[in-house]
Symmetry: C2
Subunit: 246 residues, 2 copies
């Protein structure tokens, strides 16, 4: 038996997120189905990040165990022949049998994309959140700076999340304007449920002069979801990559 | 009566191009239908560029005449409420009654996008042509340089085109790599039928070492479509903008 790691990219538009659920199509379900069909055994993947409905990925990670003699590196090519066009495995490789994609130290990078113009642009409508009021990116960056470092992010976490601790570390959080696009790029050691989308929703309010940047420091201190801003829509969010440290 | 100019953006994936045709949905048809419904009179748009099936636009141009008292600048907002999400008017404004979008001197800018990696990326699959062999962008630029200037582009024009002259001027033609993306950006005073896609298909062959860059100079001299490379797929092509000079 061997354990195989997949780097998985997907357009989340047509899926109800990663995790299998009844009466809805998910990324995990499609991978299990096509891997089982390809390898002719019952395959169950374990995902690193159970992204929400509508969220995209360039580099989510999944592992599975197989008795197959197909070399691990070849599986990506064979699997992509079977997968729909909106799910593409970028790489497959063998990892130690004890490797677990969630119980291993990681740094994850997410991007939240905003299209900031008078009218929407059809060519990015699936991957960007459209905002028509002019965003002040300098204010957004000033607010973002309060979130960098180790903090209790209880204010930036949806209420239905069940975790032992809401302390996380953000290593970098950059707000970049590129023409009409505003990109929030965030790197951290883990993210709570809806955390990136609540950060994005809050920074958008700051960029629209509804909150002062300093208010984000106050939000952190409250440790209460009602203190922070709205949850930005799923379609603007992309899991860019997961780096494994050990 | 007034003449109104529209700057029209669209994702061409679901359309059989710009121009009205039987039994197929086109951009022109959707604009005519929604403008007529909004303005409560029979509206017929005249497009600047009759893009092919599957080709995208960020800035195609159309004009139409109307008796409506709605200010020209407001029409974009009202029209976008009615249009599908994959067609969005970026701007509307009044122009002189004698303005014609095709019989006026213009410079058009197109981009042809290639995604050059081992596996496709789902997030750009609608807007990029996927090429898995490693493209040599320096060779592509060397070949592109032969096409800059005024030339007879008969070799870079599909046979079924009916035009008075195949002489056109390309002002700039840049081949740019940005990570896994290769972007061919071209600016000229007019383009023959399939000209940008044949140029892109030819430059891809050069980037794959199938033709020497100098061969593109020879292709121009032949004035024969069979001398040049294949027509690259429509989905990689976007009409970026049209600048009117007079």
């Amino acid at each position: 038996m061997k354990r195989v790691l997949l780097i998985v990219a997907y357009d989340g538009t047509e899926y109800c997120g990663w995790q299998i659920q009844p009466n809805a199509i998910t990324i995990e379900e499609v991978l299990n189905r096509e891997l089982s069909s390809l390898l002719k055994e019952e395959i169950t993947v374990i995902g690193a990040s159970r992204t929400d409905s509508g969220v995209h990925a360039m580099g989510n990670v999944a592992v599975f165990d197989t008795e197959s003699r197909i070399p691990a590196e070849k599986i990506s090519y064979a699997l992509n022949q079977r997968l729909p066009q909106d799910i593409v495995v970028q790489e497959s490789r063998e990892v130690p049998l004890e490797f677990h994609p969630r119980y291993t130290d990681t740094r994850k990078t997410y991007e939240y994309r905003i299209y900031n113009a008078t009218h929407p642009m059809p060519l990015n409508r699936r991957y960007s959140h459209f905002v028509y009021y002019d965003l002040d990116v300098d204010l957004m960056q000033a607010a973002a700076n309060y979130l960098i470092g180790e903090h209790d992010f209880a204010s930036f976490c949806s209420a239905n999340s069940q975790v032992k601790t809401t302390v996380r570390t953000i290593y970098s959080l950059d707000v970049i304007r590129d023409g009409h696009e505003v990109i929030i790029r965030i790197n951290g050691n883990g993210f709570l449920y809806n955390m990136v989308r609540i950060i994005a929703g809050t920074l958008i309010q700051v960029g629209n002069h509804l909150y002062e940047p300093e208010r984000v420091g106050w939000m952190l201190e409250q440790k209460d979801r009602s203190a922070s801003g709205p949850t930005a829509p799923a379609k603007g969010l992309t899991l860019v990559k997961i780096d494994y440290l050990s």
